[in-house]
């Protein structure tokens, strides 16, 4: 009976947990940079959140911003003047459910000016699908994994308790 009550209470907890707001999955989106190569006196860097603190040289290409859960994930972009070694200001980009193209218009007094264009959601989504096929870990249903972990743990606890009693 106690085992049953334990299993029931854990199931109820999981059910409550499943309805918690603010943790819905967000799709991955693409962001693209253009015209940075035009500014030869600068080196631009790109650092995605949670990417081993690794900074990559920014190229005029597309980058995939992880969707994830809860707080939107993002990336930061800044430049360093090759001669003076002075840093520019930093552009912070966050996953906002649609892709963006950032066209670098100018760098004046250490300030970068970008023109921003939204990428149509369909185009962004198509690219994400291609990416997901290449990596089997993309698009994993986290709620499903958490539920399975809880079920397995519940089963182990229930079996352990039953075994102790017998």
């Amino acid at each position: 009976m106690r085992t049953l009550l334990l299993a029931l209470s854990l199931t109820i907890c999981c059910q409550i947990w499943a309805d918690m707001p603010g943790n819905k999955p967000r799709p991955d989106v693409w962001i693209q940079f253009t015209n940075t190569a035009h500014f030869t006196e600068y080196e631009f860097y790109y650092q995605a959140q949670r990417a081993d603190n690794k900074m990559d040289l920014l190229k005029d290409t597309s980058y995939l911003l992880d969707g994830g859960y809860g707080v939107p994930k993002g990336a930061m972009i800044y430049g360093i003047n090759k001669k003076t070694k002075e840093h520019t200001d930093t552009l912070y980009v966050y996953n906002q459910r649609s892709g963006m193209i950032f066209h670098l218009d100018s760098v004046e007094n250490g300030k970068m000016k970008f023109s921003e264009t939204e990428i149509p959601v369909t185009l962004s989504a198509e690219k994400v699908v291609v990416e997901k096929k290449e990596n089997h870990l993309q698009g994993v249903n986290m709620i499903m994994l958490i539920s399975l972990t809880a079920i397995a743990l519940m089963g182990l606890i229930a079996f352990f308790v039953m075994k102790k009693k017998s």
Binding site: H136, L137, V140, M142, T149, G155, F159, F160
Partner: protein
Amino acid sequence: MPLYAYFAFTLLIELPFVLWLLKGSWKEKLLIGFLLNLFTWTLLHIIYLNTNININILEIGVAIIEGLGYQLFFKNGWTKSMLLAFFINGLSYGIGLWVNNN
């Protein structure tokens, strides 16, 4: 290959060794082996996908948890349980690496 197919292959590799090398009824061994693998496999993916912890360290953690589980349920001795857990997890991880790199 869908993600859950990897779990099925993990079971196919690990469960025969659990059935063969541990003492106890085969039904218990099958059930506990399945539940322990389900628990560690999903937990590993949750941690792996949400942190930057090295996968090798996570695999060591998985082997320790499974070894602990086998000892708690079957009491075949700590050394045997841990050796078995490290061996079968090393084997399934090694085969997984080999399959993914070929």
